[in-house]
């Protein structure tokens, strides 16, 4: 797969016009992480509603097109879902959401940073600890 396929219209659109970009005034979850390789940075905030549902979700960040588009698309996917759903989300789901681009080992972490932040925040809220096995496994 060529880079023309990685940087499809969809990714570029989310990179330049990120949905759910910004901060929440009231939130129950606030998580942030960086990818030291690229300097990618993502912070996500979530307001949890009745039945442990993701009532509102927003993110801010900076970095490459893949990291920013992936985080933005993930917030859209997560909105309205129950927190349990976040625990089920896998790296395969994220790749599928991005159109299964062939990212190569050095860029996979960019794609998965948003998911890492989302999971870290939700696991923390649920009183659990999230081990980032997905990202580091994918690196190899």
């Amino acid at each position: 797969m060529s880079s023309a396929d990685i940087y499809r219209e969809l990714i570029l659109d989310y990179y330049r016009n990120p949905r759910n970009f910004g901060k929440l005034e009231k939130f129950d979850i606030d998580a942030r992480d960086t990818n030291p390789l690229c300097g990618d940075e993502i912070e996500m905030q979530i307001r949890v509603g009745e039945g442990e549902k993701i009532e509102e979700i927003k993110f801010v960040g900076k970095g490459c097109a893949i990291s920013q588009a992936s985080a933005s698309m993930l917030t859209e996917l997560a909105k309205g879902k129950q927190l349990e759903w976040v625990k089920q989300v896998s790296k395969e789901d994220v790749f599928k959401m991005l159109g299964n681009p062939d990212l190569g080992p050095s860029r996979v972490k960019c794609a998965l940073l948003g998911m890492k932040v989302l999971k870290t925040g939700v696991y923390g809220y649920l009183g659990a600890h999230y081990e980032d096995s997905d990202g580091s496994d994918a690196k190899a």
Partner: protein, 412 residues
């Protein structure tokens, strides 16, 4: 092939086996030389020859192999020293520039820096010329201060003079910025710093591989460089120091080789430079560095400098015609090393590097281990193309075509 015509680049390229390789089915266009350079066959052969003919520990062996290895290791020290206008006894082999600055931080800094002292470095430094001084400041209760920059990416000498009036204990500065390419006037800086009573450290990681360097005329106390950025192996570099200063200093690491005599309650130290080379040294890579010095010397460092000035000229002229291209640092090729940091419209450097990689082009993207400088430039990251002996105008043209492809994909 378009050539800079300073020397025969086509012939030079034949000396580097790796340049025959293809990446994604394309000719390898290697423009990441500020990170590390490729190795000529002469360097690879020197390593193979050492391991297959006279591998042995040095200095303590009486047998033939040991004598040959010792002679080759010490000959390499002489070459590495002469290459920068220093004497063999002034040159300590280290892993690279990072280990060199850390050696100074421990062996000189812990003894000489006191509570309340001022240490000075600059905003354009690589982390290896910032973090050791932060650690030193923390352990000794000293204060680390930074020389600012002017808008064109050169040092603000006014801010430097202001800091000198605070009588700093140390001035640490890079000879050439690994991001902006700025070549600093280290002769003036060191002379001013020494009259203010400061000990001076110059980071030569980006200068020694690219231009003639003379330790004596720079007038610094310490000068550091890395072998792998100048066609040599990884894991070897040099700290050159004023001999009287090296003699006064405490050792860096303790162990074999660095001692003269060991008793139960104390030890005495070996002569300089061996006092700073504890344990079995990196014999093979030192010999490899010696071979790299021979190779560069045969091409001529003044010629290499001229070759890079022409590449800089051609690259700046070629790339600046592309819409969205923005270069950082001095734009006068005669005042900068062979490195161009840039951004391209709103394409993040890592996305650009991914697209270029598909064309067989290797560039660097990121913060280049210079986060304070990135903050000063007010960017998260930059892309960087950097040159060496085997680069040609063709490589610059390939980069231009790659940028145009990225422009098409990102619809710029």
């Amino acid at each position: 092939m378009l050539k800079t015509e300073v020397f025969d680049v086509e012939k030079v390229r034949e000396d580097f086996p790796i340049l025959k390789r293809q990446v994604h089915g394309k000719r390898l266009v290697y423009l990441d030389n500020a990170a590390t350079t490729q190795k000529p066959k002469a360097v690879i052969d020197a390593l193979v020859d050492y391991y297959s003919r006279y591998n042995s520990n040095v200095h303590r062996s009486v047998h033939t192999l040991g004598e040959e290895a010792t002679a080759a290791y010490e000959a390499a020290r002489g070459k590495a020293a002469r290459f920068v206008g220093a004497r063999a006894k002034e040159l300590v082999f280290v892993r690279g520039t990072t280990e060199a600055t850390n050696l100074v931080r421990y062996a000189w800094g812990e003894q000489n820096v006191k509570k309340g002292d001022i240490l000075v470095t600059t905003l354009m430094e690589h982390h290896s010329n910032i973090v050791p001084w932060q650690l030193l400041a923390k352990s000794r209760g000293a204060k680390l201060k930074f020389v600012g920059l002017q808008p064109d990416g050169t040092l603000d000498m006014g801010s430097f003079e202001n800091l000198l009036s605070e009588a700093p204990k140390l001035v640490a500065v890079t000879h050439c910025s690994n991001v902006l390419g700025t070549i600093n006037d280290v002769v003036t800086i060191c002379s001013r710093a020494r009259s203010a009573g400061a000990t001076t450290v110059v980071d030569g990681a980006q200068s020694v591989p690219h231009m003639p360097v003379d330790f004596g005329s720079i007038g610094c106390d310490f000068y550091a460089y890395s072998g792998h950025k100048m066609l040599g192996p990884t894991g070897i570099g040099a700290l050159v120091g004023r001999k009287s200063l090296l003699e006064e200093m405490e050792p860096f690491q303790g162990g074999g080789e660095m001692i003269k005599e060991v008793f139960l309650d104390h030890s005495t130290w070996n002569d300089v430079p061996h006092k700073f080379e504890a344990g079995t040294v990196n014999i093979a890579d030192a010999i490899g560095l010696g071979a790299a010095v021979d190779y560069l010397t045969s091409l001529g460092m003044d010629k290499e400098r001229e070759h890079e000035i022409r590449l800089n000229d051609y690259a700046l002229q070629t790339l600046q015609s592309i819409k969205g291209f923005h270069a950082y640092g001095p734009l006068d090729s005669g005042k900068k090393g062979g490195v161009i940091s840039f951004n391209f419209a709103d394409v993040h450097p890592h996305d650009l590097a991914t697209i270029l990689n598909e064309e067989g082009i290797a560039i660097r993207s990121g913060h280049h281990c210079a986060q304070p400088l990135m903050n000063w430039l007010d960017v998260e990251a930059t892309s960087r193309a950097s040159f060496h002996v085997y680069n040609s105008y063709d490589d610059v043209d390939a980069l231009k075509a790659g940028l145009q492809k990225a422009g098409a994909i990102f619809k710029i």
